[in-house]
């Protein structure tokens, strides 16, 4: 049996995001085997009703983008609520710059972000992980659920990904140059 078939069966059965580390263990794959199986599976599913969603080191199986309207119509639950201005900008920071600490978020937004973070955590759009550099603080990062809500299956599909990332990079570089100017003046 092919590796990508096993991988598909596992992801289907789990029905939720599975960490790549966990996949290696459960399937007894090498890293290379897993990487290859992911590529093959993504390709195999390209014209199917399901699709592979990869977020950072997590993988899951979700319905295909072409089927969104169909499922939306069948769902009983209410439509996704609007993110609001605060939600939108907070998610933008977490998606394009994340993982970030709350202090970074507060600084960029110029306001206390405690409430909006709680709201996004409860909605399952972001998750909190411990900060490897500072035990007293947390890092916030996007969930696979957020990718699914945005209709994307990998980071590169984020809206205006390339343009925005390069803008952020040139901005950071510019800032660093300025800081050095100050430091040496």
């Amino acid at each position: 049996m092919n590796n990508n078939v096993k991988l598909e069966a596992l992801l289907f059965w789990k029905g939720e995001p599975v960490a790549k580390k966990e996949l290696l263990r459960l399937l007894s794959f090498s890293k290379e085997e897993l990487g290859e199986a992911l590529v093959v599976l993504r390709e195999t599913l390209s014209k199917r009703g399901t699709t592979l969603l990869e977020k950072g080191d997590e993988v899951s199986l979700v319905t295909a983008p072409e089927c969104s309207t169909l499922i939306e119509e069948l769902r009983k639950e209410e439509l996704s609520k609007d993110l609001g201005r605060a939600g939108g900008e907070t998610l933008a920071i977490i998606l394009y710059k994340g993982p970030v600490t709350r202090a970074e978020l507060d600084y960029i937004r110029g306001v206390n972000s405690a409430f909006i973070l709680r709201n996004l955590l409860i909605r399952g759009l972001i998750e909190r992980i411990s900060n490897p550099n500072d035990q007293r603080s947390y890092l916030y990062r996007p969930t696979s659920e957020l990718y699914a809500h945005l209709g994307i299956t990998k980071k590169e599909e984020l809206p205006e990904f390339k343009r925005f990332i390069s803008e952020l990079e040139s901005f950071t570089k510019h800032q660093e140059e300025k800081d050095q100017e100050y430091a040496s003046s």
């Binding site: 993110l83 900008e89 110029g110 990718y147 100050y182």
Partner: protein, 244 residues
């Protein structure tokens, strides 16, 4: 113009950067030191009209206001030399604003995309009948202590960043203090009034802000004899100023 000012006053802004960006964009300006000094008055007017802010929120606004005053002071008092750290705080505000603007715009893009073309996980995975499978250590005491630690970690009332809030005097209070002092003494020194060197820097800045406000309204005349020298203040007319 008049209606715009009124609109800003009634709109709700989450934070000072939000407000600042809105003021700049409303005038169709780019983020720069010049545009910042141009909207300083609007910004201060907004704080004045929202004196009922919760203290923690007000602190954020007043800190930004203090930087705006630094900027504006340069155009009103060309003799004023800004210190390196003051220059830095202006640069920093500009940079923060530019970055915030990028994320705010991207946030609007995300709002549009959100939920538009959603992908779905499996609703449930009950393809086999549930089998009662408690974990080995499942017990009443374990569960109640889980709940206990959850209750302990529930978010409590957040403490205000006291250091920031403690000494920040409201703008209005500062203007009142200054007006009455001038009335009594007709002339006073900025150094005495603001407690320069004794008070927190933020209070000095707020004092300065108040002085500029009075200069603008024609109540005060200011004079600085030397760079970094004390600023001499004098009331222009002897009759009681009708501030607001």
């Amino acid at each position: 113009m008049e209606s715009q000012t009124y609109h800003v006053k009634t709109e709700v802004f989450e934070g000072p950067l939000d407000l600042l960006l809105n003021l700049i964009e409303r005038r169709k300006l780019h983020v720069s030191d010049i545009s910042l000094s141009q909207v300083a008055d609007d910004f201060i007017r907004y704080i004045e009209s929202h004196s009922d802010f919760p203290l923690s929120k007000a602190a954020h606004f007043i800190l930004v206001a203090s930087t705006l005053v630094l900027l504006k002071s340069k155009s009103l008092l060309p003799t004023l030399e800004l210190s390196l750290s003051e220059e830095e705080s202006i640069e920093e505000l500009e940079a923060r604003l530019a970055l915030f603007k990028q994320f705010r715009n991207m946030g609007e893009v995300l709002r549009v995309e959100f939920g538009k073309n959603r992908l779905y996980f499996r609703e449930q995975k009950l393809d086999e009948a549930p089998v009662f499978s408690p974990s080995d250590n499942l017990s009443l005491s374990g569960l109640s202590s889980s709940l206990d630690s959850l209750i302990t970690s529930l978010p409590k009332e957040e403490k205000l960043p006291e250091k920031v809030v403690q000494k920040v005097v409201s703008l209005e209070a500062m203007v009142e203090r200054l007006t009455s002092r001038i009335n009594n003494e007709l002339s006073a020194s900025f150094k005495d009034f603001s407690g320069l060197g004794k008070e927190e820097k933020i209070n000095v800045v707020v004092s300065f802000l108040a002085v500029l406000e009075l200069v603008k309204q024609g109540i005060l005349a200011v004079e600085q004899q030397a760079q970094f020298g004390d600023i001499h203040m004098e009331q222009k007319e002897v009759n009681t100023p009708a501030y607001e």
